[in-house]
């Protein structure tokens, strides 16, 4: 049992224990969930040092045990520089989600916390699985608790949203499963590292056509999860209707399952198809960036605004990945983490406000600054981080993505950068409408400032936003090392170098041919 296995299975154990706790003692359930999730986070901190000290891009804590004999499915897990931070993001946000649900969840408390821990189990597993099948299992396992979290504890249209969310993901994963089985029938294994090596060495022969269809099988599943325009329509519904904790886990971690999948599986396994399809995918990503930002601008509902801002931010991630440059990859991963922190924090803050006023409409607020200055401050820092203000987390990610893209195609960079400007528009406008101005009498009475529990939630996130924005050295080196490995077969700059060969290599036109051409 390695430390990593412990981090994966402790949430499952906690889930089972919560199920066994008595139903009529909600405080016991809350306390236990909090202690358990904090303990899991502390244990997961132990993962950092070994990854940092490992050889560049290598998997650490690798465990490879047989699970099912035929077809050969292994419990194969491992951690590299990318999955490390995503696992930590999950384990960090879970206790915060427990805290934010402390009071706001008032029915079926035991089941709520149980599902939250089960969700953590699935999410941590997704980021560690190195066996395609195991990845799929965790992928689907995380779906079920989220479905219940939205459907039982959500707002008015919760059932519609929960079912939509489930069916969208299910359809995508059905295609992914077919693609996985197809690979298995060719390769005789589900093992990611073996398949990767086999495809790169040519031991697993894939025709261009097969590669294209397999790529699409995986890509659609991930694109739905990201979500990439035009497959994003489940996202606003699910995010808005979910309870605060559900929105946080959805936006901060579950969306990253999609981009992580693209980075880990889609691009390295099918480099040829990924290159061939990059153009239209990038166009969709840019449409997503601009469309998400523009739609966010006109939302009267705060949660919906944040949800559409996610569509926009995740567009940057996809853009970075499909630029096939080191900077693009690094920026994509950094943006995944930064978005996880900042958007998670935004959903938490909106949740705090909802707890006070029971409304998500921007028009129900106005002048919140006066009665709740610290809430307004926290919101401002988070909002600025989300816009991408330098020295705060998102700036680094967006900058790296844009830089990576500019190496390949300057036009893309220009359009994508517009999205960053729009982000400033919708966020600042939201802030202006909700926090500035003169508060109504009613609002002043119902808007107490942050309490201790809420400080405890916000302070670590704000510290991280500043830390990630001002000292990237703490986070970026392992990410870069792992990205360099993934990028190997698809590096874009190779092609640029080829294209930039000196012109004298091409034969000069002779006068005769010039004449011929002129005719």
């Amino acid at each position: 049992m390695t430390l990593l296995s412990a981090v994966i299975f402790l949430p499952l154990i906690a889930f089972l224990i919560i199920l066994a706790l008595p139903r009529d003692n909600p405080n016991l359930v809350r306390m236990f969930s909090l202690i358990a999730s904090i303990a899991i986070f502390i244990v997961s901190l132990g993962l950092i040092a070994p990854v940092l000290s490992a050889a560049a891009g290598k998997f650490v804590f690798e465990t490879n045990q047989m699970w099912i004999e035929t077809p050969a499915i292994n419990y194969h897990i491992g951690l590299d520089g990318i999955s490390l931070w995503l696992v930590l993001l999950t384990t960090l946000l879970t206790p915060l989600c427990v805290l934010v649900s402390w009071k706001s969840i008032d029915k079926h408390i035991k089941q709520f916390f149980a599902f939250l821990l089960l969700l953590e189990f699935g999410l941590v597993g997704v980021f560690c699985a190195l066996d395609l099948f195991l990845f799929f299992v965790f992928w689907e396992v995380s779906l079920v608790p989220m479905y219940f979290l939205i459907g039982i504890w959500g707002h008015e249209r919760r059932i519609y949203s929960a079912v939509k969310f489930f069916l969208y993901t299910m359809t995508g994963s059905a295609l992914m499963l077919i693609a996985m089985i197809y690979i298995y029938n060719l390769a005789g294994t589900f093992d990611y590292t073996k398949i990767l090596a086999g495809i790169q060495s040519g031991a697993i022969p894939l025709t261009a056509n097969e590669q294209l269809w397999l790529f699409l099988g995986f890509f659609i599943a991930f694109a739905i999860k990201v979500p990439l325009f035009p497959l994003h329509t489940w996202l606003p519904d699910a995010h808005v209707e979910a309870p605060t904790a559900g929105s946080v886990m959805l936006a901060s971690v579950m969306l990253k399952m999609g981009t992580y999948g693209l980075l880990r599986f889609c691009v390295p396994l099918f480099p040829g198809a990924a290159r061939a399809n990059a153009d239209w995918i990038i166009i969709l990503a840019i449409i997503g960036i601009l469309y998400g930002a523009l739609v966010a601008m006109v939302q009267p509902n705060m949660k919906k605004l944040v949800a559409y801002s996610s569509v926009s931010h995740l567009g940057f991630v996809v853009l970075g990945i499909f630029s096939f440059t080191q900077q693009g990859f690094d920026g994509a991963v950094y943006q995944m983490l930064a978005h996880g922190i900042s958007t998670g924090a935004l959903f938490l803050l909106v949740g705090f406000m909802y707890d006070r006023r029971h409304s998500l409409e921007i028009s129900a607020y106005g002048g919140v600054c006066t009665p709740a200055p610290w809430l307004a401050t926290a919101f401002m820092i988070t909002m600025l981080a989300s816009i991408g203000l330098p020295t705060l987390s998102n700036f680094i990610g967006e900058y790296l993505v844009l830089q990576g893209t500019s190496l390949v195609n300057m036009h893309w960079t220009v359009f994508a950068a517009l999205g960053a400007i729009f982000a400033a528009c919708y966020m600042l406008w939201l802030y202006q409408r909700a926090f500035f101005g003169k508060p109504t009498e009613d609002l002043t009475h119902h808007m107490p400032d942050l309490n201790f529990r809420e400080y405890a939630i916000m302070v670590p996130l704000i510290v991280l936003m500043v830390w990630m924005g001002s000292y990237t050295q703490s986070f970026l080196p392992p990410i870069s090392a792992s990205n360099a490995v993934l990028l190997g077969p698809v590096d874009a700059r190779r092609e640029i170098h080829v294209r930039a060969l000196p012109p004298k290599m091409t034969p000069r036109l002779t006068p005769q041919t010039e004449v011929a051409n002129a005719r």
Binding site: I68, E69, P71, F148, I159, L167, M170, L177
Partner: protein
Amino acid sequence: MPVNFMPTGVDYLRILPEIIMTVAGTLIMLIEGWLGGENKKTNLSILTFIAFAAALVAAVAANTNPGVSFSGMFVVDGFATFFRVLVIAVGILSLFSATQYLKREHAESSEYYALLLFSVTGQCVMAAANELILVFIGLEISSIATYILAGYLRDDKRNNEAALKYFLLGSFATAFLLYGIAWIYGTTGSTNLETIRTALLTPGSDRNLILAGTAAALMFVGFAFKVSAAPFQIWAPDVYQGAPAPVTLFMSVGPKAAAFAVFLRVFMMAFAPISSRWAPFVWSSALLSMIVGNFAALLQTNIKRMLAYSSIAHAGYIMVAIAAHNQIGIAAAMFYLAAYALMNIGAFAVVTHFSRQGEKFVNIEDLAGLGWKQPVTAGLFAIFLLSLVGVPLTAGFFGKFYIFRAALDANLVWLAILGMLNSAVAAYYYLRILVVMYMNEPGEATLAIQPVSAGIGATLWVSAVGTLVLGIFPSILLNFANSSSVLVK
């Protein structure tokens, strides 16, 4: 032709499960007269259980000495044992879930138990039949008993309708089967599966191809009816809805598993030489069953009817495995049938429990709020539903996984893709039950719910544990299925 027709000792051992159940069934009908009061009838169910348990042991024991018996009519091999154990286990679980129901409807009598035993006997015969006449006999024993069970509550209109429909259409389908047997006998001069296979493999048998093909087509109609695969599925929704809930539980699993056993044995062994001819028909039937079953289920409000359509869709998934016509397809179908038995029995056991006297509450909406009123029952039901959807870590997922793997192995890429998309459609109607159970406020039906009876509870727990164990450690069963899927020796 063998000279000596006298059965030997080992022949009796091989057919011991059938003997035990037949004798027990007959005894039960006889001794009812001696049992006086109503309460004594519980003893009958205990006796039935003992008979089933003994038959189960005998079926397992028979596998230690596999081989053919009765002049090659009857075969005990891994495949037969797998299905004999499966149908007997199904019999036990349907017995558990029926006892309380029969008391509730004041209809406890020896016939029910005896018919259950006879029906399972017929299914065991089917599983081990190596010869078409015996297939027919087994099918009739099983079917006739099931026809009567479907109309078991004589005074109930719906029961009568179900039984009549099932009987008329069932007889019609059996006639097709019999006609097909006659054709193949005329073509190859035998009803023995191995002889048929040899005859079809012989060079120069091409001129008989049309005759053999016709025979296969006629028999396909008969089997497709029995497994409720489209386009011969019309009867299933009405019969499943009309029959008493525990009978539907039994019908949707036992006879279906046995019919698939025969289907597999006849088509994958005897008709294997002409598989390129029949595979397209199975392919179409598989796709049609999945589409008809899943899309019709979307519209249902009655839970029994919905599960009936869902069982048509599941028959479609298993047909995908047959369409693959390779060995991993057989193993996949076997595994799927076991998984399907567990999850479907579980789901129908909940319906049996919830429907109350006179089956008042059989609408999906009635289940509102069950998740908070009876968390354990609802939680187990959720496991069955998630397994029917095909969520990982449940038996249903691995069943689908193996089937689509077999299909891809046989290059049926489109069938696999359409099948998987179908299972995403199916997710919608199963989720609807989860939505009602967990996301709606409790209604009249849920508030007046009684605690789960011991029998139903046992069925639920056994099925749920089985569903999860097969979902987490599928090798336990799959290795056996793989080793016994070699039909041609």
